[in-house]
Amino acid sequence: MTWIDFPLYSSITVILWIFGLLFLVISYKKTAVLKLANVLFVLGWTVLILFVVKLWIELNRPPMRTLGETRLWYATFLPLIGFATYIRWKYKWFLAYSIGMAGMFLAINYLNPETYSKTLMPALQSPWFIPHVLVYLFSYAVLAASSIVAIKGWYDNFKGNFKLETLKLADNLVYIGFAFLTLGLLFGALWAKEAWGHYWTWDPKEVWAFLTWMGYLIYIHYRHFHMNNTKQALSILALAFVVLLVCWFGVNYLPVANTSVHTYTTY
């Protein structure tokens, strides 16, 4: 069992998930179908796990040294986080979102077979790598969703039929996303202590990750105390997401970029 079998296993998984997603869409009309969707998701996930386990046995080491291998883990864990969130919060679309992201990582691996054997530098070879990146991925996805909700809020406001429920949904997404953002930041600190000797070095990426965290912190505190100032809250949410985007993509273009240790291109 090696990467040669990946196309077979990943296509079975993706096909099962696509059918699952279809049933999930139908379940908005016919609730009973949701069970079927869940069964398909779990089946697809089992096939994926089977592949990971066999690959692990074959390689004789945990498969987390190359970019392709780390993407495999994202694809494995994203549905789990999605399910945990679904069980707790019952957002069906959220489950679809995480399954979709997982499918995307399988597709990236499928489309870039040459990167399977890509090298990974020593500092990244750590059990912290996957949890650190994974919680950030998930957090960014949830916070992006909260921004979409905010845009809807703005649009409704413009149209004059703003509903407070919209902002409450945004709030809940921010709380979930912020929890994962905190975990990502702290996992990063714990890892940095093991890899670089200090948990916090104000590296540009760290600075912007901290700023993102502070941005959502402002939103949470503002919402907590000023329930009715919806426009201001929406503006803060938009600004916080801009900071998040700077942290994700923009840092490389700032004058501080060349002093960063986070300059590996990873997903």
Binding site: Q125, L183, G197, G215, I218, M227, P255
Partner: protein
Amino acid sequence: MGENHLNVQRNLWENPWGYVESFFIGFGLIVTGFFLEVFVTSDNALTLTYPYNVFFLVGYVSLLFVLFKWFSTSQLVRWLTKVPASISSIVLVTMLVMVMGIIPQVSSENNIINNLGLNHITSNWAFLLILFQFLTCLGLISIKRILQFKWSNFGFILNHVGLFLALIAGVLGTGDLQRLSINVYEGKPSWIATDAQKNEIELPFAFYLNDFLIDEYNPKLALVDNNTGSIVHNDGKNLYLVEKGETYYFNNFEVKINEFLSTSGRIGNRYEPVNEIGSPPSAFISVKNTETDSIQSGWISSGSFRYPYESFKISEDYSMVMTIPEVEKFSSDIDILTKGGERISTILEVNKPFEHKGWKIYQLSYDDKKGKWSELSVLELVKDPWLPLIYIGIFMMIAGAFYMFWMGNKITKNQ
């Protein structure tokens, strides 16, 4: 809740202080800080060392308790425990950190940056003063919630006290943090380390490097432009690993790797397996131009610190080259020799530090010119006595994050 949308006209500095007053005070602190930067020139604004930082911590926390317990009706304490003070200090800390995120924190030739100390924000008076206000707000509201003794405050306390501990221990711990590096050569004990200011420091134990080891990945194959010398394929990313028997495609060239030698030497017009210091990897490749169907073959080598590299010209415009192999893993097989005559053996590796007598010992680097033939291993020693307090803070916040995930905005709904 929502006290500020009672649109009642009120005067500045009238009770209770709101956002205008809060930002006024915050900006005041920042301006004061910048004045101190300009007129009181010292490199280290605030680095307390043991035992003074412990005195400060105990004094500060006691002061917060006293303020909360007996002065909670005073204007200042009432303001500090209210939302405008918290939000304004979060915003202002964010703004100063943003300066750090934009202006490189290295020595600068710009006068404004230099005078205001914008290139050393973490030790800048303005930042420290506003952080002090931030911590004071955080500390006071933490005490307020702790003293309420309610289970519903559980998550709140985890998050707020966790952040307070991690931040204050981080700030006060800087003075006691020791980071040293030491050069260790194969076959010779070393015990003189140097700190960031290049001062020599004698360690109470010595290191003996038995062996320094590097595992390398195979080198990679790249297509370069003969005129510019730069890699023209795939933006220089995701290059192919050189492995025997593989065939790769670059534009209209089909490149087959017939032979790969991980350590080799040029003998006549070909490479042979050689295992000496500095023997570079090499490969024998054949290149087929799919437009003309012509095939040519030749040797390429990445070279090393002792031998030059060798490229293979495949057309007027292009050549094939082999990149220097990337490091997969590097490690030091060391013995720690104590004054008591003890000998502790361990293997240091990136991401796998070793703990000895309060020091954490890290594999830092090596002689990168020599690469896998390096006889030098650079180790880093870190002592941070405040670490347990920081970890308590961090783990409280991790627990708080799980709580937050579970509760969502029910936290606000219950209020």
